[in-house]
């Protein structure tokens, strides 16, 4: 990442970060920062809210209004912030455990409300912070400390969940596809309403080692080899798509946004009850 951006958007005194060598949390965080920079947002008006997990530690490194909350609850805190002060751009950084396991309820309700938050979920397919237990997105039959004989849980497709729950912007990219990821986050932030961007990432330490995924670089290449762009995917058979993640924009629609609706209601009251 360019040093001007690091200089401008990071709390340099906090670096180097706590992440393991080769962990792609830094890469996804950089994509968020580039997206913010591309959009030319005022740092003072950006608020980053995160939960608990390796990925969620990102908030501490970033020089915005930052809030590192409790496990799974980042979106609920963020809802309070956005609703209380709509002029803030509120971005939520979360992990697959934080958002899809313990935080699932807040996630689906934020989707449903279509409140104007941008949620970036770093999906490393494992609980990194606690040392490698399986998460709702650990692929079936993969191993984790709590799945010593292979994981039997079905894979949770969080993009599909977001759509089912009513989100209005849903996209997926990876730590390999840095430019695409940056672009999708940018679009998510610009989108009025609830945006969800899943960033497939890599945990070489706990997921990678146990599942023999090779070096950090190997894991990035794996992401390249196991993803298909949505445009291409539409031309492929289910068989061809088997074992691949589709990346790109899944949904981008306009719907009434929660905070605006509330303000409209107040406006109405002012007119009708005065």
């Amino acid at each position: 990442m360019a040093s001007e951006l690091v200089e401008k958007y990071f709390r340099k005194e906090t670096l180097p970060n706590i992440w393991c060598p080769g962990c792609s949390n830094g890469t996804v965080t950089a994509a968020i920062v580039r997206a913010i920079d591309n959009l030319g947002l005022d740092k003072d008006k950006v608020c980053i809210v995160s939960g608990i997990g390796c990925s969620s530690r990102a908030s501490g490194y970033l020089d915005f209004n930052t809030l590192h909350t409790t496990h799974g609850r980042a979106i609920a805190f963020a809802t309070g912030i956005k609703f209380a002060n709509p002029e803030l751009t509120v971005i939520v950084i979360t992990g697959d455990g934080d958002n899809a396991a313990i935080g699932g309820n807040h996630f689906i309700h934020a989707c449903r409300r279509n409140i104007d938050l941008t949620v970036v979920m770093y999906n490393n397919h494992i609980y990194g912070m606690t040392g490698g237990q399986y998460s709702p997105t650990t692929p079936r039959f993969d191993r984790a400390t709590t799945a010593p004989y292979g994981n039997i849980d079905r894979y949770f497709d969080i993009c599909k969940l977001a759509i089912g729950a009513g989100a209005t912007y849903v996209a997926r990219s990876t730590a390999y596809h840095v430019q695409q990821l940056t672009k999708l986050i940018e679009k998510g932030i610009s989108h009025k309403g609830f945006s969800f961007i899943e960033a497939l990432s890599t945990c070489p330490t706990y997921y990678g080692r146990r599942n023999k995924k090779g070096s950090p670089a190997d894991m990035l290449k794996w992401l390249k080899d196991h993803t298909v762009d949505i445009k291409q995917a539409s031309k492929m058979t289910a068989e061809e798509l088997n074992g691949k993640f589709i990346i790109g924009e899944f949904l981008n629609v306009e719907e009434p946004e929660y905070v605006e609706e509330y303000e409209k209601m107040i406006e109405n009251l002012r007119v009708n009850y005065k």
Binding site: A2, L15, P16, N17, G22, S24, G26, T27, A30
Partner: protein, 65 residues
């Protein structure tokens, strides 16, 4: 243009993960004592891929004055 850029390594931040080494198209980087090292500055084509891929902001191109 390429000429007036310089590869900078922040050793303190580098964790020696080897990602930049692996992705460098001209294989001009290596890991030594758990840190990245530029083997041959002249061979570097200043493509910026290491900067793009380094998760720890420990390597980047800087414009020379």
């Amino acid at each position: 243009m390429v000429k007036n850029k310089e590869l900078v390594i922040i050793e303190e931040w580098c964790k020696g993960c080897g990602i930049c080494v692996e992705f460098c198209p001209v294989k001009v980087l290596e890991i030594k004592n758990d840190k990245v090292r530029l083997i041959d500055a002249d061979k570097c084509i200043k493509c910026g891929i290491c900067e793009l891929r380094c998760p720890d902001f420990a390597i980047y191109l800087e414009v020379k004055e």
